[in-house]
């Protein structure tokens, strides 16, 4: 156990300050060790207490090991326990001294008091010193045969501990089969339960290498064992019941009679006071009836009441755990819970994590009969003091509107939101109105009237601004002022920091231009000029594309930019049903709370390359994990129209989501044409490099088109002597190893241009940028304003690696770079390359 850092220790004077105290204790312990005077136990106890309290607050008292062991010869059980605790803590770092304790522990294992036998055996197994395992086998073997059940429960877990210290010793001693025998024959249910835990762990770990273990693991799910456990279930403690029920949930009954037998037997478990037992029972019921649709339905009805009771009792944390499970059930079968919507109303003082789940459930259960009440209730929350919840509830109103056919009332509500004149309410409502219009274009008249009254100056949030601009472009013929509002927005182009908004502005001006050319011409020219000069890559590209397509043929341009739109009928779900089913299979575990399957957060390859360690302490999620999630979502997004708001939930929940997933498909039809048209245009334009003077805007359309192209992207940097392999690969473990071994070749501070900082919206952007310079990221982490990256690069045609740690502070605009290299001599060249790549970030 690594003691917490010294600096975090409480400075209060009553607490010992360090070395002198420890040596003092050492002296006192030594004096007491041999003493047999009456009352010596009491003074020992005081001393031991001091030692333990030092240990707890993180002072290293391992130097007292010898003295502690000498003092341990006592009949006082409390003293013994303190001593065992101490030994357990420090044996691992003092394996040699641990040998000293073996003797007295082994002796205690043969004590006549079963308590002492149990305690000694537990401590013996907790030493965790690999070269002492030989001393464990004997006491464990006799512990398993002890006639006292307390000793047996300890011994069973002891076997599991032994397995974790030395698997081969445990298997060689044939302990698993002894445990199996105990599990099936012991009279004490705690022994049985511990055997089950231990065997599950051991056989699962062995299953990958041993056929036999695999068979044994399967055998745990066989009918005789399951029935044996089920028949005794009432004798088990509540915790052990959870364990057994978890196992039963994996059992595959042979026929429906068996299913009903098990359910009848377990039905009363739903009345258990322990919520964990109830949830485990629910899991059994759910899993057993998966293939029986009717019964499955009845199960939902049956478990509703117990779940709702659990939600309303216990601490907020407990009810959160239950609510997460209720949430997944509601999402699977909302119609079953639609009459219980009132249970999901939020109380004013509930923590926001509870409210958030409740809001999602309210959204899901809304149907024709309860929509009015639910929306009324949600509107109450829009005025909530807790702003994130207020936003969440406005979004919920929007989602209900998108689900329902009868949206009259809801549209009115949304429009009322716009009139509330609170920035965040307006912002959320704007986004919703936009979504609504995409699904129900027939509402445009009502909505546009209200939207037209909103001053664009009061809308600051990028998403809301983008939504407003989209509406201005799309409905410019209905909005009197649309061209002028757009024009004023174009005038303030430089003050607009969000790339997303600028993209939308470009498109909106284009759309407006096709509808009201004379009024928009000015704005379009200015927008294209500004767009082409923009440092944001996507904005630049889109402006250039518009420019070229206009030049090529105006009517083609109109077909591309402003095609007749079909109303969106169904918005895509962000999570695939496969993932949802996987989460459901892992009911009653963390997966449900995190809303992702367990492999996403327990497997190393999904979690990212690094364990939490001191050196790389700040990295939580590796890029690889993020990429996996994103690519999974992209697949989803490709075939359907992924909407901004539906993906927002993901964004708030998982840091791995990156913005591009919804910016790309935002303009639906336009982007799909984009690719095919680009090629056509490229060939149509004969001399793309003819112009470099495009920076001035022109008034006439002819001039606008005649301007030609702006300078091609800045000339490639003078090719450095160092060439990097663009397809370099490096194993994370190799990286870690190298990082530890290599000395720091260069350590520099480098400032980042304001454009770079501005483009630094998501770390992914930087990663992609660096990748284009053949510098690959292996891990990243941190939160604004501090980000940390680990990059690597490989020299072309040689497998020489460069490793970089780069800490970027976006508020100060500084990057701290540490470079380590296989070949020290080229590290300077690499550093130059790295810095030039970094400095170009955001400026293209």
């Amino acid at each position: 156990m690594a003691p917490p850092a010294q600096s975090q220790r409480s400075p209060s004077p009553s607490q010992p300050s360090g070395k002198s105290e420890v040596s003092d204790l050492k002296l006192q312990l030594r004096q007491l060790a041999g003493s047999r005077a009456p009352g010596v136990d009491d003074s020992k106890r005081e001393l031991f207490k001091k030692v333990i309290s030092h240990m707890t607050i993180g002072i290293d008292v391992s130097s007292l090991f010898g003295e502690m062991v000498m003092c341990s010869a006592t009949s006082d059980i409390v003293l013994k326990k303190m001593c065992y605790l101490y030994v357990g803590n420090y044996a691992k770092v003092n394996p040699d001294l641990a040998l000293l304790t073996i003797n007295f522990l082994q002796r205690d294992c043969r004590d006549e008091d079963p308590m002492i036998r149990g305690l000694a055996l537990r401590s013996l197994c907790s030493l965790r010193v690999a070269n002492l395992v030989e001393y464990l086998v004997g006491p464990l073997g006799s512990g398993l045969k002890d006639n006292n059940s307390y000793v047996r429960t300890v011994a069973v877990i002891g076997v599991l501990k032994l397995y974790h210290i030395s698997a081969s010793t445990c298997i060689d001693a044939d302990f698993p089969s002894i445990l199996k025998h105990l599990m099936l024959n012991d009279s004490d249910t705690q022994v049985v339960a511990n055997c089950l835990s231990a065997l599950q762990e051991i056989w699962s770990a062995e299953a990958s290498t041993s056929e036999e273990a695999l068979r044994e693991r399967e055998a745990l799910l066989s009918k005789p064992i399951i029935y044996y456990l089920l028949n005794r279930i009432k004798e088990f403690s509540e915790w052990a019941q959870c364990l057994v029920l978890e196992l039963v949930a994996k059992y595959l009954p042979s026929d429906t009679n068996e299913i009903f037998d098990i359910m009848n037997l377990l039905e009363d478990r739903l009345q258990h006071a322990n919520g964990a037992v109830v949830l485990a029972t629910i899991k059994v019921f759910m899993q057993l009836t998966l293939s029986m649709t009717d019964v499955h339905q009845q199960v939902y009805e049956r478990i509703k009441a117990p779940l709702l009771t659990l939600v309303s009792s216990g601490s907020p944390e407990q009810s959160y755990a239950v609510l997460s499970h209720l949430h997944i059930l509601v999402m699977r079968a909302p119609y079953i819970f639609s009459s219980d919507y009132k249970h999901f109303y939020c109380q004013y003082n509930e923590p926001s994590y509870v409210k958030r789940l409740k809001l999602e459930m309210l959204t899901a259960v809304a149907n024709e009969s309860n929509t009015y009440e639910i929306v009324t209730e949600l509107c109450e929350y829009a005025a909530n003091v807790d702003i994130p919840i207020a936003r969440e509830s406005i979004r919920a109103v929007g989602k209900i509107a998108l689900q329902q056919y009868d949206v009259n009332a809801i549209v009115d509500r949304l429009l009322q939101f716009l009139e509330m004149e609170k920035d965040y309410v307006t912002a959320e409502a704007l986004v919703l109105v936009k979504d609504l219009l995409r699904k129900y274009p027939q509402w445009s008249q009502d909505c546009i009237a209200v939207v037209g009254n909103i001053s664009s100056k009061n809308v600051q949030e990028p998403k809301a601004k983008a939504a407003l601009i989209w509406m201005l472009g799309e409905y410019s013929q209905d909005m009197q002022d649309a061209p002028y509002i757009l024009e004023s927005l174009v005038e303030n182009w430089d003050e607009e920091h969000s790339g997303e908004v600028r993209l939308h502005l470009l498109t909106a001006v284009m759309k407006c231009f096709f509808k009201r050319p004379p009024e928009t011409q000015n704005a379009l020219g200015a927008a294209l000029a500004a767009g082409i000069a923009d440092f944001h890559q996507d904005v630049h590209d889109r402006a250039l594309f518009y420019y070229r397509i206009l030049q090529y043929n105006v009517s083609v341009a109109e077909r591309v930019v402003n095609p007749p739109k079909q109303a969106v009928s169904v918005f895509a779900d962000t999570q695939s049903s496969e993932i949802k089913d996987r989460i459901f299979d892992e009911f009653n575990t963390l997966s449900v709370v995190y809303q992702k399957p367990s492999y996403m957060f327990t497997d190393k390859e999904h979690r990212g390359p690094f364990e939490f360690s001191d050196e790389l302490g700040n990295l939580s999620i590796g890029v690889e994990a993020a990429d996996n999630v994103v690519s999974a979502q992209r697949v989803e997004a490709n075939d359907k129209d992924l909407l901004l708001t539906t993906s927002e939930k993901e964004e708030t929940r998982s840091s791995s989501h990156n913005g591009s997933a919804y910016t790309a498909p935002y303009d639906g039809p336009a982007t799909s044409v984009y690719a095919s048209q680009t090629q056509l245009i490229e060939t149509a334009i004969s001399n793309p490099a003819s112009a470099g003077q495009a920076q001035q805007a022109s008034l006439a359309i002819d001039d606008l088109l005649g301007l030609g192209l702006p300078a091609a992207p800045s000339p490639p940097p003078p090719s450095p002597q160092l060439k990097l392999n663009s397809k370099a690969v490096l194993e994370p473990s190799t990286f870690q190893q190298k990082w530890r071994q290599l000395p720091v070749a260069l350590s520099q501070e480098h400032s980042i241009s304001p454009q770079g900082i501005a483009a630094f919206t998501a770390p992914q952007a930087l990663l992609r940028h660096m990748q284009s310079h053949s510098i690959h990221c292996i891990a990243s982490g941190g939160q604004s304003p501090n980000f940390k990256f680990f990059f690597f690069a490989q020299k072309a045609e040689e497998s020489l690696n460069y490793l970089v740690e780069c800490i970027i502070n976006t508020s100060s605009g500084k990057a701290q770079i540490k470079i380590k290299a296989d070949d020290q001599s080229t590290s300077q060249a690499f550093s130059t390359l790295f810095q030039s790549a970094l400095s170009k970030f955001g400026s293209q």
Binding site: M1, Q8, D113, R122, S197, H272, A305, E611, G617
Partner: protein
């Protein structure tokens, strides 16, 4: 999939470690630093009680001025982990007699380490029952009762009890006076709209028992709940007696209750643990008698004045009374001056919670005191509609009243020695979250 906890920490609000117990080696020793750095010192604290950092998940709970943190490295069972923490705290409380806070932990840390060793082994929960643990973990630290010399005293069937099946009761208990105390405690949750319609209303109740009974008694409890009564009249083939019957939405029982018998005969029969315990919990949503009606009118007169009138009506029997009634009426943050008139109790403005707090110590049934107040506001230019009107909240206790109407019809005690018992039954209704929007 193992559900084992890897470590458990007790921290004070500053993040100092009070207790740490590592059960498994699969997490590093710096987990507590990770918790401090990524949860305690960020805004994350309180946003979600389950968090993932690196490969580990942290479950944390604040209890008085202590954080209890469980660290797991696998896909663990969350409900089980939180329940474990709650049960463990209850166990500690029963050892220190009441309070569970930083001081109590500092004063009893050796005991807590002892208990942590017993209640969880290698991350798997073991025995958490205070009745059994108290048999062999005592602060006196004497050798356990079933220890060495057979001549000492008759060894009770202790081995069974340490881990055994009937975990909740010891044999051979003797009381001079056999008594049972039964408390029915209900809390009413209400959410009322500003128009006076009930949006949501339910009662969560629990039956608390205190048993001082000799031997191994068998108890049977009869309530006026619908299912129980119907079943009874079916068995005795006579029509259901008229009078109020209660429909319980859901019931959960202490582990001592024979659930099979409850399911077949609908009677609550059990062998009680010794001392205090929670026999059952129930939930009712239909036919709730609200003890109080609140009729607020809040008028904003211009931008600097408000008029608040609140009438509270007690709708329970005239002979009963409520105790400790507190009505919190929210006012805007920029309140400058308030003046009150109340027909009963006392009112004052509490600036720290932005509320007018109206307290009535004893509130008889069938009365309707009123409060009228004038509130002056500091005029501000920013955000004209900034006040969101939080709901009025109410606290109260009404003895001898149940919002659900639940009554104990009988409590029978059988013991083979056939002693007489004295039974005491009390009812009380408290406010849960009693909110009235205005």
């Amino acid at each position: 999939m193992p559900v084992a906890a890897s470590a458990i920490y007790f921290l004070n609000l500053r993040g100092d470690v009070l207790i740490n117990r590592l059960y498994r080696d699969d997490v590093g020793g710096n987990m507590v630093d990770a918790f401090r750095m990524h949860i305690m010192q960020t805004k994350e604290l309180g946003t979600c009680p389950v968090r993932q950092i690196g490969g580990c998940s942290f479950f944390y709970m604040r209890i008085s001025n202590v954080y209890i943190v469980i660290v797991v490295s696998s896909n663990a069972n969350v409900a089980c982990a939180f329940k474990f923490v709650v049960e463990a705290v209850a166990l500690f409380k029963s050892y220190f007699g009441g309070a569970f806070d930083e001081d109590a932990i500092r004063n009893n840390f050796v005991l807590i380490y002892e208990l942590l060793d017993e209640i969880m082994d290698f991350g798997y929960p073991q025995n958490l029952s205070p009745e059994i643990l108290k048999l062999y973990i005592t602060q006196e630290g004497v050798r356990s009762p079933f220890s060495s010399k057979p001549s000492d005293k008759p060894v009770p069937n202790a081995t069974l009890q340490v881990t055994g099946a009937v975990g909740w009761r010891r044999e051979g208990l003797v009381y001079k006076k056999n008594e049972v105390f039964l408390d029915i405690v209900e809390s009413v949750n209400l959410l009322m709209s500003s128009k006076g319609s009930v949006l949501r209303c339910d009662v969560t109740g629990k039956i608390l028992m205190k048993c001082f009974l000799s031997g191994m008694p068998d108890l049977k409890l009869g309530l006026n709940d619908k299912i129980g009564l119907e079943k009874e009249s079916q068995l005795k083939s006579r029509p259901t007696k008229s009078g109020k019957t209660i429909e319980l939405d859901d019931v959960t029982f202490h582990q001592c209750v024979n659930l099979t018998r409850f399911n077949s005969e609908k009677t609550v029969s059990f062998v009680p643990p010794d001392g205090e315990f929670e026999l059952m919990k129930y939930r009712i949503t239909e036919g709730v008698n609200l003890p109080f009606r609140v009729l607020p009118t809040i008028k904003e007169l211009g931008r600097t004045r408000m008029e608040v009138n609140v009438k509270v009506k007690s709708v329970f029997g005239a002979k009963m009374f409520a105790l400790g009634v507190v009505i919190k009426i929210p006012v805007p943050k920029q309140t400058a001056k308030t003046s009150f008139q109340v027909t009963s109790g006392r009112a004052k403005y509490n600036a720290s919670i932005d509320c007018l707090v109206w307290k009535i110590r004893k509130f008889p049934g069938q009365t309707e005191p009123t409060l009228s107040a004038e509130v002056e506001l500091i005029s501000t230019m920013t955000e004209k509609k900034s006040w969101t009107r939080p709901p009025i909240q109410m606290e109260f206790q009404v003895p001898m009243f149940t919002a659900s109407g639940l009554r104990v019809r009988f409590l029978k005690v059988w013991e083979k020695s056939g002693y007489n018992t004295v039974e005491w039954v009390r009812y009380i209704t408290k406010a849960g979250s009693y909110e009235i929007r205005c």
